[in-house]
Symmetry: C2
Subunit: 476 residues, 2 copies
Amino acid sequence: MGEPWANSVAGIGTDLHLDLTGPRLRAGLTDALREAVRTERLTPGTRLPSSRSLAVDLGIARNTVANAYAELIAEGWLTAQQGSGTRVARRTKPRRAAPAALRPRTHPTYSLLTGSPNLAQFPRREWLAAARRAITGAPHEAFALGEANGRIELRTALANYLARARGVYTDPSRIIICSGFHHALALVAQVLKDRRVRTVAVESYGLDIYREQLSNAGLRTPALQVDEHGARVADLNRLPGVGAALITPAHQFPTGVALPPDRRAAVLDWARATGGLILEDDYDGEFRYDRSPVGALQSLDPERIVYFGTVSKSLAPGLRLAWMVLPAALVPDVVAAKGYLDWVSSSLEQLTLAEFIASGAYDKHVRAMRLRYRRRRDQLVAALAERAPGIRVTGLAAGLQAVVELPPGTEESVIRAAAAHDLEVSGIAEFRYGSTDGRDALVINYSAPLDTEWVGALAALCAVLPPTAGNPAGAT
Amino acid sequence: MGEPWANSVAGIGTDLHLDLTGPRLRAGLTDALREAVRTERLTPGTRLPSSRSLAVDLGIARNTVANAYAELIAEGWLTAQQGSGTRVARRTKPRRAAPAALRPRTHPTYSLLTGSPNLAQFPRREWLAAARRAITGAPHEAFALGEANGRIELRTALANYLARARGVYTDPSRIIICSGFHHALALVAQVLKDRRVRTVAVESYGLDIYREQLSNAGLRTPALQVDEHGARVADLNRLPGVGAALITPAHQFPTGVALPPDRRAAVLDWARATGGLILEDDYDGEFRYDRSPVGALQSLDPERIVYFGTVSKSLAPGLRLAWMVLPAALVPDVVAAKGYLDWVSSSLEQLTLAEFIASGAYDKHVRAMRLRYRRRRDQLVAALAERAPGIRVTGLAAGLQAVVELPPGTEESVIRAAAAHDLEVSGIAEFRYGSTDGRDALVINYSAPLDTEWVGALAALCAVLPPTAGNPAGAT
């Protein structure tokens, strides 16, 4: 057999360890031929043997070969033309992706970067138990595409939880489930844009990703200065044309200040006087250490405030579940922006979280984490007091991170020194946005490191902090 | 005590069954006061008793009252001014959502609407078993916000599965996980727009929601006529400026035709000649009944075809998991459009699906469903042959639905008659888009009804089908 296909096709029975009976044989033959074309052992234009002669060669039924050919013709690997038999079709050779794309990134040994709680503490067993109860007991319709608001079971559990734990004024009809604050903010930005809002004030410290979502929606985002008492909300009256303000009243991110009563009142006054909307990002409201949590601003005026919450700090960012509590008048707009159906969030995971909350596992987990993070925070404060006594730490009352103040002009060099000690850490400059305040500081997420890494991370941090005026170590 | 607060506050200890010790007492007092303000038993401006006198009245420590007041001042429920004591703050009374919003919608007894597989057959036990293995064994970083491509475990499992079951040319680096075809198409639309594509041809039968996603992205969507052999892809050369074409080659939705070999070749020729991109929606490629599935078009030219797949038909739409296999050159653009991080899909659910596929449970489920749906299809054909013998059924080779042809001009009246028989069913007009073909037909999803409803749904359908020329029942 001098034909070019001969070597390719002749050995397929033994090469592929084919089960030489029934439909599996045809599938094996089809696969082998497809592979031969793909790898160019059979080049484009090559004429294949007739089904009769290949069947004889392989000792199988002619129909099996004819069916395999028909299948590959249907798929476009082969072509059949009257009079010229079956040939390999012309196709383009695919390019392999650069192997670099699959190479894992390298990480430093220690990280105190913000954004994540302690992932080692995710309550796997309790979550799985909730999943088992939720999925076993779910109605069939739970497996369908749901409505945009989210599962009623989760909205009901959240309404109870938020009223009890965060003082939020709500009922399930005001809640909309999202895949994160990121998603929620994109939806609200779209609604604001549709309502001809052009400008949303944002705090002069915060995360760029959220500002970008607003500006991607075509909104301007002037900075609202943050000082040692949080956002200077009185300035809202001086910024031109602000239709909404995005603030973190319970625990400013990342400076850690709680908005004091007079400013809470002032931002409400602004909203009432101008018809503006307050966007309350309550990202870590559950974690307050030395007294009860400050209740949400939202309940003071639920028709002027959108409240945002998430499991990203209380459980894990990987779950992609969050919620907003909306003014009643905004619910239909956000439902429309979401597309009327829930194209995003898994109904099974929503039911699992509903069960997790309703069973009390969520409260229990938050309490356990609060104790654990408070201990971490106290260890941070103690270590700094001992090993870097001149260094001031702020933003300690709540949350997962603290601000370690640095002498002027040292932030960048401390971050570089940390990297040399295999520690990644953020400077406060990373979060600054149109701020008139130029202080130097580190933002330390003390919650995230594994127990096995925490002592080392703390040691690396203390090792790189510069001596200060009040630091006896620096005075020697 | 003639003060207006007296009645409200005096009874709180007994009303609320408070534990009158420690921090729970303060929390109870705070809640009771908050509730009194919320329900306007304490009206705005009302002056509260001093902490000393309320403590005496209630027989509790003064500090407990002072702390409760401080908490409510911090939250904004109360205000404190030098000299004028503690007063109830002015606030706006929230509006209750219309109770109608929470009322459940009524559903007809029977539904043959498209969009969902049989939800009663969701493999709950096997899914939970996969979740248990996946979540128990997951690395800690699985609980973090992941990268935009999606979990590598899932992309690896999918690369193997898609190559084996659908003949897709892929490796994990070409796969991007999404929350559904809806999400995937939105991302690709954005990338096309950024690449100055203005026009995406869509089939003249299909779902409006997907066309709308393209037009929402600012793309024009001229119709590509679908005839009895599927999309007339040769017309792509006549439509002006088409940069991409969205097609369903394995099983046109909803007409059910597989694109024949000459048209598969023609659409590739068009893509090669013009640099156009083919968007291959393989929504139900696994379900082919009378022969092996037609392999994906994608492997014939992986650099010119985006392949889309989903679990919405094979498992459940409520899971919100889907994937695209991209030309290597498009991967970075789609990752950028997704925002570099996975803001959308739960990493735990991705790991669960990875485990479900890798363990063979997915193949097993698809095989079981294929048998079940084929039986349903055969029952539909048999029932129509017996009870409406003149009626022609098409699109039967694959998928979850079939097309029941109707005599001209009867589609709307049949749908109304079905509604009167408590059956909801779609006419083909619902899916028509710029089609020059005006046939009357129903699109019947035979896969979705529960076993307990299937016989009734079939009976209702047969009861409302009109007599046809060839129908002896109609000739009497």
